[in-house]
């Protein structure tokens, strides 16, 4: 219950700790203090989804989580998806489908797709569209991203 200056949490399966700046978001704590830059900092208001992470297994925008709220909780970032040097199947599907242009939105999309396929292993196009409605790509359309989701779902 005390005011927090130092927090202790699990990130990508490892116990991590760090000192907080007052009122800072989980996003800046991950990027600047824990030096995990995979979660991207773009809109900082939950509009773009490029900072998406899993908090206790739930998809959230890390820019909208107060870092202090993550104390004692479990966070998975895009850096925590690969296993033993092999890309996560969703990451591999993004590579294979060419679903990456500038790449800035990709980490958030990958995390959102991992979450989608865990809840819904074979989503329809409408379900994909709704699940990814909080992740913006400004380079291109979403056609290749949809291809990647279908590819990952088909391989599972």
């Amino acid at each position: 219950m005390l005011a927090h200056v130092r927090i202790d949490l699990t990130v990508n399966g490892e116990r991590r700790e760090g000192v907080l700046r007052g009122g800072e978001s989980l996003l800046t704590f991950l990027r600047d203090t824990l030096e995990l830059p995979g979660s991207k900092n773009a809109c900082e208001q939950g509009e773009c989804g490029s900072c998406s992470v899993l908090l206790d297994g739930t998809l959230v925008c890390s820019c909208l989580v107060l870092a202090a709220q993550a104390e004692g909780h479990d966070v998975v970032t895009v850096e925590g998806l690969a296993r033993d040097g092999a890309l996560h199947p969703v990451q591999q599907a993004f590579v294979d489908a060419g679903a990456v242009q500038c790449g800035f939105c990709t980490p958030g999309l990958v995390v959102a797709v991992v979450d989608l396929l865990e809840r819904m292993p074979h989503p329809s196009d409408d379900q994909i569209r709704e699940a990814l409605s909080g992740n913006l790509c400004r380079c291109t359309g979403y056609a290749k991203i949809f291809d990647a989701v279908r590819l990952a779902a088909g391989r599972a």
């Binding site: 219950m1 927090h4 009122g23 939950g46 925008c61 989580v65 107060l66 409605s133």
Partner: protein, 264 residues
């Protein structure tokens, strides 16, 4: 900036009394934006996200108690979605999955934006707000709790702890106009509840007055609802739409939702 992280409601209420300057934060979907952009610089934050007392919902003798920490995602799921379908539909229009996983009903009440999507369905269901402080607990109708743009009847030392609602048996639905289907603040929104037992139809609208507002007409005069809604609205021109467009859209939404509810 200090962050208080109570683990029980009693502790939270004590901290609320001792630190009136501490801003409550739950899902953070409103508060974090204000902090990050420097629109709010509270001396301290009172984090409510660890309080088990605010989570989930319970039903006793037909009275539903929705914890203030109930997320939009939870409100979209059965069995709650079948008890309060308009709230479930409204919740599905909020932001994105990321926002719905984090944003809460209690936060929507605390923020008290005229555009709050949970407010019309709860107003149309005649919901009551449960407010707790170290002095005790009181309830008041949601319609009295909402005083103005981001202004509520919350007294010093109080926290929103729950919403109490006794769902009607009749049909109900929700509709919203925005620039697209996801990630939009309502240009206008409307929830309709047909309360056959009370012999009335209630419609509550958002983004068209300083607070979300409720209109009631006798069931026999349901056809007058769209006009009554427009009369009760006092929309403004802003970045999202003109007042004239909002009046037009409200009339359409009222007629459309009414037809959905009454055609069977």
């Amino acid at each position: 900036m200090e962050v208080f992280r109570p683990s029980t409601l009693d502790e939270a209420l004590r901290l609320r009394a001792e630190h009136p300057q501490a801003r409550p934060i739950q899902g953070g979907t409103d508060v974090m934006v204000e902090l990050t952009f420097g629109d709010a610089r509270p001396e301290a934050l009172l984090d409510l996200s660890e309080l088990a007392e605010l989570r989930g919902f319970a039903e006793e003798d037909g009275l539903l108690r929705l914890g203030a920490g109930l997320t939009y995602t939870e409100a979209m799921q059965t069995p709650l979605a079948s008890r309060l379908p308009a709230l479930a539909e409204a919740s599905r229009t909020v932001g994105s999955p990321q926002i719905r996983n984090r944003g809460t009903i209690g936060g929507n009440l605390g923020t008290a934006s005229p555009a709050g999507d949970a407010l019309p369905p709860l107003l149309a269901e005649r919901a009551e707000v449960e407010l707790a402080s170290a002095r005790g607990t009181r309830t008041m109708p949601l319609a009295e709790f909402l005083l103005g743009v981001k202004r509520t009847a919350l007294a010093p030392g109080e926290l929103v702890t729950a919403v109490r609602v006794r769902p009607c048996e009749g049909p109900q639905t929700f509709a919203k106009v925005g620039q697209r289907n996801a990630m939009v603040i309502a240009i206008c929104s409307l929830a309709v509840v047909v309360d056959a037992e009370a012999g009335e139809v209630r419609a509550a609208f958002g983004s068209s007055a300083v607070t979300a507002r409720c209109v009631v007409v006798p069931l026999a005069e349901a056809a007058e609802l769209p006009e009554r809604v427009v009369e009760a609205a006092s929309p403004i021109d802003d970045v999202r739409a003109t007042a004239a467009y909002r009046r037009h859209a409200l009339r359409v939404l009222a007629a459309r939702t009414l037809e959905r509810c009454l055609r069977t």
